[in-house]
Symmetry: C2
Subunit: 442 residues, 2 copies
């Protein structure tokens, strides 16, 4: 090519996934799919591009600014989805009649937001959502906690806590005080409690919303409750249980704690935390956040909650639901920090040396036998020097190399080299599959 | 909501995947990933959006018209990728120094083309590519045939044939005749052979490219060779083997047939087919097409070939390679037609009836035991009437329903209902896991 080269580069805020990044990412998505499915959630997919009208239905100006929006060949006003919730609402409005309720779906797919790129934030990222819609039953809320728990455990985490709350308690209290319209302002003030202290929060609440000091203190009292789950539940019942809405929220939390315990989840992994609110308007019942004990500052790695009506913009059918979303990139960063990720650059554990070109048929034959026995094998494509091939295998992180030349074929044996221990042994061809299976299980 | 509803709809040429469509689609992608990995291919991912300059580097005007292209918030000229090959070329130019060669990657991801929507063609579709770059070794070409074979077999196909050819044979012949510049015109004429007959093709070749009748007939003779692989190879050697380039192409085909046979692939699944050309300029060596014996008209379901230089637009480093792409949508349509797809709307085989609300803890406990034993279980979220719950389970395609009420818990037994046979039996709780495992294996 005499032409000038085009500089190979990605857009700001976008990135490539090389194998060392993509292998654990793919494993994480596969684990999520496996766990979601084991609870009966089914996969769906929706288009990356939608009518802007659909996507912005509920959107704020903030969302609008972040939207990748343009006119397509048919002069339609279109945009790339910025989350999976809005497309799910549109999807549900279109298909729920055919699908029936309850409907449990998961959706793992990329979304795009043209936001400012800070450290660790990208303009393209994958969301992993699961939701049950069409039922108000607390069993669906409880299941969300179970899914989060079993998913975190399946990913290899041992020290994590699922924080739960129920928005009905605060909402009931505010309703009783006739403060419902002031909810967002009160929550915003409450959020500052750890920073500015109780007195300043009371002052802000009084000034911004016109509540009395007594009311402000009661709201703060609710947010400050802490302790063992049973103790919190008892105190909530004593202090707020006279309001029917709050009482229902408390009862739902109590049932959640009991059922999750009965199902065998260790008690220390579920913590009632009345300080979490999640979504000023969207969530109306149970809310979930998940924290890693060893990395508290990373924030919640799996969050969600119950909402009253998913698709009110697109259909008159009321679709209550509950669900959560796994923070894929945050979890991967955490797994890297906690050394839960392997750094392999290969997806197969066995490396087949091409010792002599004329035996390629034999190498490929054995490789197929091993694959049929469930073991991945890469055959090196060139009959290069042994040292070069083994150096390639080392660099990629293969665990075992298989070597056979004319002498070995004459004796029906294979040289098996453990690349980590750097130790070789001779194994009879008839025993090779069993030998490798045992070896790789170690 | 008093507001007017927004009509829920997708853009023309785009579609939703409801679970009955998405479950087999996801299974197919998982099988592809598993097979690719078992050969040592590793996953990568690249951004959906790229600089238009990068994507159009090699593009024709045709591609330009199909491109979803716009200006982003930073006024950059950007577009959605229309295939995975161009992004892979850009990716390789950027990262190959770090990754090293040979490099074997797979990439399963959506691409977008604003083309006219005919039946079965969508503007968003998933490509499943795998390639080995950085080596000219025929072992890599042979491996492509093995991957295609083992993938088709893993998907459940039994009657399929991988057609192979090598472009070096025709290229050698045309080079010798000094007709290389006319290659595209000659191939276009040759393509019409089945339709318009030999005489008309000779006439067109003479008129369009100025070849002699004798030359035209020799080209046609090459494309018409057919028979058993050995017979074709022998005749190719006799008739075209004196040209060094053609001879190398023939030798590579011969080695491919031999090694694939030695590796245990049934002979009837590999067919040398000198009539396939694939890609007028792009492919330069081995080419592959895969046909289903029972659905020949559906076209090739997995195609690819060898190319000389992947990333010449972005780097001076010469990167020869070979690979293929699985036609996901075409394969799914074929699997549906051949009844290789199940029509389930559930991802879990076991349905847990919520017989009485107060036992939810027991139901969730047993469900978790079963999941830990590897069996998917959906617990119905509401304690509705038994008939309603079973009708939901029937409709979704669950295989087994578990039912237990107070009497059963007192006796430590479960009712196991086979939803297909519509037959129930009582099973002791201690034996339930083993019983279900056996039952589901049937």
């Amino acid at each position: 090519m005499a032409d000038k080269l085009i500089e190979p580069r990605t857009l700001k805020g976008f990135r490539d996934y090389v194998p060392t990044l993509m292998i654990p990412r793919e494993q994480l998505m596969e684990t999520a799919r496996r766990v979601y499915r084991s609870f009966g959630f089914v996969p769906i997919d929706t288009p990356a591009l939608e009518y802007t009208e659909i996507l912005l239905g509920k959107g704020s100006e903030e969302t609008d600014k972040q939207l990748y929006r343009f006119r397509d060949h048919g002069d339609r006003d279109v945009a790339l989805r910025f989350d999976l919730t809005v497309p799910f609402a549109r999807f549900a409005a279109e298909h729920i009649g055919q699908l029936g309720v309850p409907f449990k779906r998961y959706h793992i797919a990329p979304v795009w937001r043209g936001e400012n790129t800070q450290r660790g934030r990208y303009r393209e990222f994958v969301q992993c959502d699961f939701d049950t819609i069409g039922t108000t039953s607390n069993a669906a809320d409880i299941e969300v906690a179970l899914v989060i728990h079993d998913l975190m455990a399946a990913l290899g985490f041992e020290r994590f806590v699922i924080h739960i709350n129920n928005r009905m308690i605060l909402n009931g209290l505010l309703e009783e005080m006739q403060l419902t319209p002031q909810t967002p302002l009160l929550l915003r003030a409450l959020d500052k409690l750890p920073k500015i202290g109780k007195e300043a929060v009371v002052a802000e609440m009084k000034e911004r919303t016109g509540v009395s000091a007594e009311q402000a203190l009661k709201i703060i009292h609710l947010a400050e409750l802490s302790g063992q789950n049973e103790a919190i539940l008892d105190q909530l019942t004593r202090d707020f249980g006279q309001n029917p809405k709050a009482a229902e929220g408390i009862a739902r939390l109590r049932e959640l704690v009991q059922v999750v315990h009965a199902a065998g989840v260790p008690d220390e992994r579920i913590q009632i935390d009345v300080s979490i609110a999640r979504g000023l308007d969207y969530y109306t019942g149970t809310v979930f956040e998940t924290f890693l004990t060893d990395l508290p500052n990373i924030g919640s790695v799996c969050s969600g909650g119950r909402y009253d009506n998913l698709a009110s913009l697109y259909t008159k059918q009321v679709l209550p639901g509950v669900g959560a979303s796994l923070g894929l990139d945050r979890l991967l960063a955490a797994m890297e920090e906690l050394k839960l990720l392997s750094r392999e650059a290969t997806a197969a554990p066995i490396f087949m040396v091409q010792f002599a070109k004329e035996y390629l048929g034999r190498y490929e034959q054995m490789a197929r036998h091993l694959r049929q026995a469930g073991m991945g094998v890469e055959v090196f494509p060139e009959a290069k020097k042994l040292g070069q091939q083994l150096s390639y295998a080392d660099k990629r992180g293969f665990r075992v190399a298989l070597i056979a030349g004319p002498d070995d074929f004459a004796k029906a044996v294979w040289q098996v080299k453990d690349l980590r221990a750097n130790a070789s042994q001779t194994v009879a061809e008839a025993e090779l599959i069993d030998h490798l299976r045992l070896h790789l299980e170690k």
